[in-house]
Amino acid sequence: MSDATMAHGHEGAHRGAPHGWRRWLFSTNHKDIGTLYLVVALVMLLLGGAMSLLIRAELFMPGIQLLQPDVYYNLVTNHALIMVFGAVMPAAAGMANWMIPMMIGAQDMALPRMNNTSFWFLVAAAVMLVISMVVPFLPGGGTMVNTGWTLYPPLSVQVGMSMDFLIFTVHLLGISSILASINIIVTLVNCRAPGMTLMKMPIFCWSWLVTAFLLILIMPPFAGGVTMLLFDRHFGTSFFNAAGGGDPQLFQHFFWFFGHPEVYVLLLPSMGILGQIIPTFARKPLFGYHSTWGAMVAIGAIGMLVWAHHQYTTGLSLGAVTYFMIGTILISIPVGLLVFNYIATMWRGAMTFETPMLFAIGILVMFSFGGLTGIMVAVVPGDIQYHDSYFVVAHFHYALISGSLLGLYAGTFYWLPKWTGHMYDEKLGKIFFWLVVIGHNLTFFPQHFLGLAGMPRRVVDYNVIFTEFNMISSIGAFIFGAAHLVFLYVIVKTVRGGAKASDQVWEGAGGLEWTLPSPPPFHTFTTPPAPASVNAIWDASR
């Protein structure tokens, strides 16, 4: 390593990047690791997206045309797992890696080698996940995973060896996430430039600080839950088997104690990105920095305490469902405050509508919609109808696609010029945005009606009365899928060349990261920025 850095130390005054595969495999550089995360996320996004198109193709018409039921359920299960763990979380982690050190004026992440470890654990997990998906197609590979991503026993005890691969996938993911979270927390707490107090950090950094704490709190119980599942499957224990004194519902508690905060793990970084983008394009400071901060912390805290609203129909007591209902509805307070602050940031600004801002505004509308159906499903009497129907599918896709995926798209367009040094093609960016909006709404809006009319989720085949809306939904899905070809093209084109981006890139952008060249040199802030400049940036943003 040191030889390579000596030999290639030509990038400015700092040590340069090592060349070849060693640069990536052994990388301890936050920018390179950020890029790696983003590339993995993009690959997994396209994989998970292709799977969703297969699902929608099967559901285009009643009857079983393309996929046998178990193959269908395998895709349903892995679509969710790949999107959550393979696409959204790594993309958010990649952005954290790239941006957090530059935003807080740190030289790198606090623990660069651990950064490398957590990334390669993620790759191992992704490989394991794909193995679990394909192993049933091999001779002697056992039955398909047909449980959905929730992996509920007793069904998951029936599944063949792919479930074991899935269980180990969860373990690897847990290690990866926890290491990455520790790194982010340590970086944010210890490596800020002099003068930048915690309450002067950019809001994206705060969103990740809350997210990192959530991850550290929720991954261990989930890993424990799937380990018990592994023991139930192979070592004769009965944690989740009533016949042996266990309780199938116990697993659901483990799963959702992880699974519900996980929703906020997916959501918060994207909300943090919006907190950077909207002030930039409104050309005025973030409205309510402290209340935005408070809202994020409150979302994290309350989000930890309401998991069983996914289990209203399992026979919980009246007291339990009442508590979980009220707790869940109360989350609308910090979320509402967040949306309010962002709208108030736009208010009386001087907005321009480049692609990141278009996404930000689209998110505020569509995520509000997903949040409001979230209040509907939080209400117990309503939910015992909505639960496990297509209404829920529509709700969480609105919440997760607009609340987290589109936020990552916004971040991609916002920071792509900084990362690559090239401006992306604005026209194509806008085409991508509109295709996404049309495709997304066409896909998921009709599913609300399907759910109310009685179509359960996770069915491979359905009665003819559900045909029309399923057709619309499938057409929308293919528009949504096609949009991503544009996305891929824009990214490749921008990486390869394009108009030179200035340091500040966006007229209204303020922050340490925008004082650096585009693209930034391999090592940045080897000398911390002066407290005066940190304070000047802070004052300008107030």
């Binding site: 519902q249 050309r283 509907m376 009665n463």
Partner: protein, 407 residues
């Protein structure tokens, strides 16, 4: 041109209008909202649903309204000057209190209304005279036991050629229930989790193996209500419809009497010790097979690999070891092909099932039914063995098992 560039609002609005328009064009029986409720509880739920949805819609309109106005008015291209001090005024200082207070008000309105109906929905009355129906989910059919009437039904999906437009919403045996009667449902499962959901009855309840969950309803409208299993339960989750037929208590009593007569007649026939001819057994066997076995093994005996093996001798069958091994042990699978194993084992599989597979124990069938089914399976589908199985053969297998158990 500028108006068209207001992002989002227009697209959202158009999408909603287009979809609502399309929704209007779809069949009359199928709306865009819940079907008309058939119980007071479902009506309460419907009201809560409409109220919450209305509040949500109003809030959405407010949010979109502010965003649209801002996007229109506060754009640089119109010459807007950013107000750098907007967040420093009284509004900026106090909005963190005002907004949560407003949202809290909305939250309390929603949860207060929900709370009022929740108790009556959740707490199942403890009346002694309530009718009780035990609903057991199986992979992939429903079992209904009328605990007070002593009637037991098995309800399986109707195959597509028979069900027509009701495919996946139609069953061979409906859950017949009296109107204007307090009914307590006890939900449980024989294997994995299932969930009982009929939208008109207003609730969904999970069926969990080893546990019993309760719900209740008073159906006050006669009719046929269709639902489906709502919880993913494996391969054929989509094939677990639920059909409730609500009829007046008088008709219900008549229906119960009819069921009992049927059962008694079948038992009497079975107990008679009569020796049946092959033709009689084949005829009874076809009926019993189509009713009980065809949902999985199919009308033509081809099965649905891997979970449901074919019954045709010579048919190829490959499956994971946990499914294929029990068949080999019992002499029904050789070199990857189905063979007709010994008659006693054939009867044994039906009476006792194959543990840890989808093949349940069919103990509840009468000896006559099992004898007929075995005869049918060994002669239909071009199996043509000519073998005839009598009730006594079945009794022998049952007896052996019982003796073994007693020992």
């Amino acid at each position: 041109m500028r108006g068209w560039r207001q992002p989002k609002k227009l697209a959202q609005f158009l999408a909603i209008m287009v979809l609502l328009g399309l929704a209007g064009l779809t069949r009359a029986e199928y709306g865009i909202n819940f079907p008309e409720p058939a119980t007071p509880g479902a009506r309460d739920i419907y009201d809560i649903h409409m109220r919450t949805m209305t509040i949500a819609a109003v809030l959405l309109v407010i949010v979109i309204g502010f965003i649209s106005y801002s996007v229109y008015a506060h754009r640089k291209s119109r010459g807007a000057i950013p107000d750098q001090n907007f967040h420093k005024g009284w509004f900026g200082r106090w909005s963190w209190v005002l907004v949560p207070a407003l949202v809290l008000g909305v939250d309390l309105t929603i949860s207060g209304a929900a709370e009022r109906v929740l108790e009556s929905l959740w707490l199942v009355p403890k009346d002694k005279d309530m009718m009780e129906v035990k609903v057991t989910g199986h992979q992939w059919w429903w079992e209904y036991e009328y605990l007070d009437q002593g009637v037991r039904l098995e309800s399986r999906y109707t195959p597509e050629d028979k069900a027509g437009d009701q495919y996946l919403r139609d069953v061979d045996q409906r859950l017949v229930l009296p109107t204007l009667t307090k009914i307590r449902f006890l939900h449980t499962s024989a294997d994995v989790n299932h969930s009982f959901w009929v939208p008109e009855l207003g609730f969904k309840k999970d069926a969990i193996a080893g546990y019993i969950t309760e719900t209740w309803a008073v159906i006050d409208k006669e009719g046929v209500y269709r639902g489906q299993c709502a919880h993913l339960c494996g391969t054929w989750h989509a094939r677990m419809p639920i059909v409730v037929e609500a009829i007046s208590p008088e008709k219900f009593n008549a229906w119960v009497a009819e069921q009992k007569t049927k059962v008694a007649a079948a038992q009497a026939e079975s107990a008679s010790g009569k020796v049946w001819s092959k033709e009689e057994l084949m005829e009874k066997g076809r009926n019993a097979y189509n009713k009980n076995c065809a949902a999985c093994h199919q009308l033509d005996g081809r099965g649905l690999a891997p979970a449901f093996p074919p019954l045709i001798a010579g048919a190829p069958y490959s499956a994971p070891a946990n499914l294929s091994k029990p068949l080999e042990e019992r002499g029904f699978l050789k070199d990857g092909k189905i063979v007709l194993g010994p008659v006693a084992k054939h009867i044994d599989i039906i009476v006792n099932g194959i543990p840890d597979t989808s093949m349940q124990a069919w103990k509840q069938l009468t000896n006559l039914e099992i004898a007929a089914i075995v005869t049918y399976e060994r002669n239909a589908f071009n199996n043509n063995t000519g073998e005839v199985v009598q009730m006594a053969d079945v009794e022998k297998v049952r007896g052996a098992k019982a003796t073994a158990a007693a020992r």
